[in-house]
Structure formats: C-alpha cells, structure tokens
Symmetry: C2
Subunit: 349 residues, 2 copies
C-alpha cells in the first residue's frame, strides 16, 4: 500500500549514472550498439536492485507490437456462455497457451458472438495475431481481415487465402469412421449429427461418411440420417426414440463424442446392448470417450496438439506473410463400443 511510485527507466538511468538510452540498450541486451560489458552489467544490476519492471504499454506504443495474441472462442447466442464450457475449448486453449507463453506472448481470450465487432478490440489492443476457433459469418471475418492483423482460423471451412488455417481432415475422418464400421461387417450404417446447415466440420464428416458408403457400393439413405443437438441428454432421448420406433441400422456413426455417449446410454437404458446390438463410433476422442462403459470407439484428433500448432502458426505469421494451411492427422481408435456385426438381431431380438 506504500505509494512508492514504480521505478521507471529514467530512475534506473539516474541511479546508474548513465543516460536512458544506454539504460535501454543494456536492459534489452541490444548488441548492435555495443555498450561496454561493464556498463551493461552495472546497469542491469542497478535495475535489479531497484526492482525495475518495464512498462509494456510504452513499448507497445513504439513498437506497435503488444506481445498479445487474441483467442476467440465461440458462444451460443442464448446464454452467451455455453459453448465456452465445452471441454474441447479448454483443451485447445491449453495448447495455445503453452506455446505462446514459451514464445514470450500472452493470450487474451474472448468469447465472442458473431455479431460483436472484434476487429476494434484487436486494433485497440494492437494484437499481434488472432486465433479464431470455429465457424463464423463472413462479415465477422471480413472485418477482422481489414485490420491487417494475422489471423489463424481453426476448424473453419472458408475459402480465403487471407487467413492461415489449421484443422483436421474431417471428411477423411468421416470416411475412416464409416470404414471401420464397414470392416466390422456392418452394412446399414446411420449417421448422427447436429443439423448440418452450413459448411463446417459436421458437413465434412457427413461427406466422408457418404464417400465410404459409396466406395463400398452402398447407397446413403436419408432414413438413416439423424439430427440432434450436440448434447448428451438430447442424444440419449434420440436413442430411446430410435429403439421405440425401430431402426434398420446396425451401426451408428455419431459426429461427436458427447452425442455418442448419450446415444449409447440411451440404448443401454432401453435394454439394447452396445456393441452387441448396435455398434457406435464417435468423433474427437474427448477425455470422456475413455471414461464410459463401454469405452467409446472414436476418431481421434489430438486437440491439445491442434492448439499448439495453431499457436505456432500464429507465431510464424507474425514474422512472415506466407500463409500456412495445416491439416492434422486423424486416426480411428477402437474401443468397446464397436464390434463385429453379430447375428443376434437377425435371429430376432
């Protein structure tokens, strides 16, 4: 609570008996303008003793670089919160934070609805780069592009070489998941996802699903396509409905792990066995996929890694204009929720 004014570079200079310029050089280890080693270390020692802490705002003003990276996480329109809670975001944030920190940056995270104009914020704060997670309306992206600040899009499906992009090959993921089911002998495979309205990961996963079906000479049927909110409970209800109303599918490709979990529980509580009666494969390999019984077979993406890569791309983008477009690998991990097609259903369960 002492009103001790913070020590500035001027104070250090005076105490060290040199000019502020020299002090600045010494403190920043500027070697081009070679100060004598003795003065340099003397100045640094004095600064240390005085508890000098540089003022980043001042530096930012001159250098026009804030060492701050903006991170945008989607929000639901309703609560202004919910999406934020998705463990997916915590995980990707984790990766972003570590890599940026190790590079001397900090992250400013905002949950932003598509309507707000983030571009202002980005400019006011002189953000060095912005990492945007998820899909946004083009107006939103246009605004921020105008700022000239490097932007890294994560999991977006937009055609615009003004942006760097990091994502996974969701279409291939959809293919792999479906293929896994096919190889287990299933031929009637349902697809479950959010209402696929606009370009995004779900659409891609659906396309991959169709690709696989066609590659195996099968025809995608609309009757085998289910839509449902990305929510545990809604998926559970869906499963109950499916059991109640009957379904010719013998396997389900569910485009998100949370939904897969709900579906599985819905089946089980309706007396249907997984994977004996229905095989279910999810997508993402969220932590919860291995915390259920049975554990969920899924298409694994390394989410933390995605964050790390996005951060690295941002770091690069600050130094170079060259746009990067990175696609991360995806692999099927087989666990307990998928199994070979059994004859059980045929024989009249």
């Amino acid at each position: 609570m002492d009103m001790k004014k913070r020590v500035s570079i001027k104070d250090v200079a005076k105490a060290a008996g040199v000019s502020v310029a020299t002090t600045s050089y010494a403190l920043n280890h500027v070697k081009s303008s070679r100060i004598s080693d003795s003065t340099a270390s003397h100045v640094r020692e004095v600064a240390r003793r005085m508890g000098y802490v540089p003022n980043l705002s001042a530096r930012t003003m001159i250098k026009r670089k804030s060492q701050l990276i903006g991170v945008i996480i989607p929000q639901t329109g309703t609560t202004n919160e919910m999406d934020y809670r998705n463990p997916f975001y915590a995980e990707i944030l984790s990766g972003i934070e570590r890599v940026t920190r190790e590079n001397g940056y900090h992250i400013m995270v905002s949950g932003t609805g598509p309507n707000q104009d983030y571009s202002n914020i980005a400019q006011m704060r002189q953000l060095d780069a912005v990492i945007i997670i998820g899909t946004y309306p083009s107006k939103f992206l246009d605004d921020i592009r105008q700022t000239g600040i490097p932007v890294v899009l994560v999991d977006a499906y937009v055609e615009d070489d003004a942006f760097h992009q990091v994502r996974t090959n969701d279409r291939q993921g959809g293919y792999l998941a479906t293929e896994h089911l096919l190889e287990l002998g299933h031929r009637s495979i349902a697809f479950v996802s959010d209402a696929v309205r606009f370009p995004g990961v779900f659409e891609q996963r659906y396309l991959g699903y169709r690709d696989a079906l066609k590659a195996w000479g099968l025809v995608p049927e609309d009757a085998l396509r289910y839509e449902c909110n990305v929510s545990y409970i809604d998926s559970l209800r869906l499963a109950e409905r499916i059991v109640r109303e009957g379904c010719k599918a013998d396997a389900f490709f569910v485009a998100a792990d949370v939904m897969a979990l709900g579906l599985i529980h819905g089946f089980i509580s309706s007396g249907v066995h997984v994977p004996e009666d229905y095989s279910v494969i999810g997508f993402d390999d969220m932590i919860l996929a291995s915390m259920s019984m049975p554990q969920i077979s899924t298409v694994r993406q390394d989410i933390t890694r995605k964050g790390e890569v996005a951060a690295q791309v941002a770091m690069d983008a600050i130094k170079s204009d060259e746009k990067q477009y990175i696609c991360l690998p995806l692999t099927v991990v087989q666990r307990g929720s998928t199994g070979p097609k059994s004859s059980r259903k045929e024989t009249g369960l």
Copy 2:
C-alpha cells in the same frame, strides 16, 4: 495490405477542424468539460467516417489502467498443461470472461507454475486485477501482493486479508455429503481423495466428513481413508483393488466427481453393484456427473457462478479497497449412485 497508417486522434482533430483536446473530450463523452453538442457530434461523425480506433496502450500509459484482468490457472509441473484441461477450469473461465467483458474488461489467461513469477507480468501489463484459481505457495502470493494489484483468490485456503476471496464452504460440503450417506443408513463410510497434504479443498472436505461422522457418534477410521490421484483411471484401479482386497465400507464419499466416476466404473467392472452394494457420492457436479450410468450423486457447486462472482469481486476491487470474502452455497444432489443401505452385503454377497 495497404500501408495506410492508422488514423490517430490528431488526424481526426485536424479533419474535424478542432484541437486534439476537444476531440478527446468528444470521443470520450467527457461531460465535465462541456463541449457544445454540435461540435461533439461533429467530431464523432468525422472519427467514425475516418475509421478511427483509439489506442489502448496510449491510454493505459496515462491512466495506469489497462482494462485487462489477469487470470491464473494452475498447471501440473510435469506436462505444463494438464490441469488446464480440467473441465472445471473451462467452466469457471466461462463465467469470468462473460462478466468481465460486460464490464468493458478483457482477460489475459495464463497457465502458471508456482515457480514462475507472475508479479512481473502483472506489472508490465499494468493489470487492473488478478484472479488466481487454486492453491499456490505463499512465496508466489507474496510476490504478487507486493505489486499492489488487487487479487482475487478462488478456492484458496490462505489466511491473508490482503486478498479478496471466493470459494465454497468445502467443509460444509463434506459434511453434507457424509450426512447424506448417513441418512441413507450407511454407517461405515470411506473417504477417497487426493493425498491431502496441505490446506486446500480436499482437506476441508475431509474435515467436513469427520465432523459429520462425529456428529453421528461415529469414529473416523484410518482404514477407511483412501488416497489416489485425481484421475479417472487411477480411481478405477483403486476400486478394483478395493474389491479384490475387501473393504468393510458400505458407502464412499469421493472428493471429486472424476474420481467418483472412476470408482463406480471400477466397482461395476468388478461385478459390484452401485448403489446396491456400495453407495458413492462425488463432489462438484461436473457435467460428467450426469453423463454416467448410474448418474452420480454429488455435492453441487455452481462453477460458472463461481467464476462470475470472482469476476464481480475483481470489478469491485478495482474501485474499492474493501476486501470481500465470499462463500458460495453447496447442495447435495441425489442421483443414482447412492441408495439406502441394503441387506445384500450382510446376507453374504
């Protein structure tokens, strides 16, 4: 990519034909120095047309206020990441972000090991307040206290009225959980948690557990106390061991939902029924508590709310020195993992 220099307040002033002071006043709606409404709106119009965006660094320098709140999230020493991924943090962040944003602030989030000195960062960035989640060594807290920046501690158990604090009454929560089990007729109740080494939520929950036992005339037994990492898989292994080696308990109070989930699955896969053979109650009411079968009875804390409150306290702290110490309510929510003591075990399962 046009090298159009950003328009500054000086540019606006010139274009509007007034001084920078007037411009500043107009733009900031300063009413004390009453400018004519006509000039004011004229200036604002010009600024808008020119696409003027204020520079926060400049403002920060003068006002010594950055409109930035630091948020510190714990990290494991090993990966420098893991704790960050805990859904708990995503949820609390969600709350913090929303209310800070609504108050015109932004958050800078860092995952910080106890050894790093965050106080420097806080000073360099002129953070207006810092929200610290979890328990940290006192050296860490001392450093940051020195800065004079308002600090809000969340879920910390430290005696220091230099800090604002937000937490739940974990001891009472421990009491409630145990009481719930007692009321169901259980008398031999085990306590499972992390190794309780130092002051923190787990210790408090344990104390609450003892309180309840004593209140019911029972004696806490060391044999009924289990320690285990806060991890799904480790808890699952623990359950298997418990079943293998036998255990006289008929109910378990587990100090975290993730562990409760692991324990339950471990029991089930060992052929032991929950809640018929063992009742299990968790703590936190994480989303996963209602996404399991059976759903987990637990002690609910509203985590998002905790974040919101912490943020509000931070907002207040910026304006007033008066320290706040807030304790959020806790309630037992009974779900499927706890039930009345059955005679099943007695009769020799």
